[in-house]
């Protein structure tokens, strides 16, 4: 028996696994901090170490802060998991950019790159495939972080495009070179742009890449 996996399904699974495991790692970090902070309180009590009320308060606040952090991670991963619920849906681009930054932040931090979403002034709504869009934006972001380089900030902005579509710009890619754009988009991004009826434009002069999206992919092409 042979099994032929389509490229979108394959990269989609890879993306889902990557994002899920990264966010679960993050939760383990939160648990580790809560564990040590609670352990410190236990040490104070068990070893009879005097601790002033202000110190105790700061440790309680530290635990509460981590609970909030875990709550944010769970909300992000929950939203991400539900993005496969519908093949197409309305997507608010401003909200989407903020969500994508939250989802990708750990990867950016590991590379020493900061992400700065710059939401549009006016609401931008498109009808698209949410999970495929997340996957494509992640791949663009992954490339953009490499092109920006360590210590830099990648901007993500959006604006209205022709026929009520949207352009998402990945900006400040100071290290973007001719040889880099020869390798991007790859077959993976091309498969996703085809499915989303989107287009990727590399603008080496402006040091940015642009993702152009149509306003509605739910109808016939």
């Amino acid at each position: 028996m042979t099994c032929k996996t389509d490229i979108i399904g394959e990269i989609g699974l890879q993306f889902f696994g990557k994002m899920s495991s990264s966010n679960f790692h993050e939760i383990k970090n939160v648990l580790a901090i809560i564990n040590e902070t609670a352990g410190l309180l236990e040490d104070f009590s068990e070893k009879g170490i005097p601790a002033d009320p202000e110190r105790l308060r700061s440790l309680a606040l530290k635990i509460m802060k981590q609970v909030q952090r875990a709550d944010g991670i769970v909300k992000t991963i929950n939203r991400f998991s539900h993005s496969v619920d519908r093949p197409t849906d309305k997507v608010n681009i401003a909200d989407f950019l903020t969500f994508m930054v939250g989802l990708s932040e750990r990867f950016a931090m590991m590379r020493g790159v900061a992400l700065k979403p710059q939401p549009p002034d006016t609401p931008l709504l498109i009808t698209t495939a949410p999970f495929l869009l997340e996957n494509l934006v992640w791949l663009c972001l992954d490339f953009a972080m490499d092109a920006a380089g360590s210590g830099k900030t990648v901007g993500m902005s959006a604006e209205k495009a022709e026929n009520n579509g949207v352009r998402i710009r990945f900006t400040n890619l100071d290290g973007l070179t001719g040889s880099m754009i020869n390798t991007f988009p790859t077959e993976r991004e091309k498969a996703l742009t085809d499915a989303l009826r989107a287009e990727i434009i590399n603008d080496i002069g402006a040091k940015e890449i642009i993702l152009r999206l149509p306003c509605d992919i739910s109808g016939q092409p």
Partner: protein, 118 residues
């Protein structure tokens, strides 16, 4: 026992260092490879406890850098993987002989450090 703790979660390493000090263990901490290497230059350590996923320079790479300066130092890795099996599967070629999965029990960490140091 002199320990260097390295993890990008400052609140984790600073608290862990304080708890180790209550148990008579001299622990210093760093939140990235650059800070860790500075401490290595100026301080004496028997063992380093490294997070696998550190910003810019990861834990396994940091281990190599430290070994170039301090060949006798011992290492334990801390990981946010879901389980030990999960970590083993992904790190077979890294030389991570000793590791603990977060959240770590302090007694387990101390026991592991003693085992590694013989």
């Amino acid at each position: 026992m002199r320990v260097l703790l390295v993890d990008d979660e400052k609140e984790l390493v600073s608290t862990l260092a304080e708890r180790l000090s209550f148990r008579g263990i001299d622990a210093k901490w760093a939140v990235c490879a650059a800070e860790a290497l500075k401490l290595i230059e100026t301080g004496q350590f028997d063992i380093a406890v490294l997070d696998v996923k550190l910003p810019k320079v990861g834990g396994f790479e940091l281990k190599k850098k430290i070994q170039e300066k301090k060949p006798d130092m011992k290492f334990i890795f801390m990981t946010g993987h879901g389980s030990e099996d999960d970590f083993k599967a992904g790190s077979a070629q890294t030389g991570a002989d000793y590791y603990l999965v977060k959240p770590v029990k302090i007694e387990a960490l101390i026991e592991k450090m003693k085992k590694v140091l013989g």
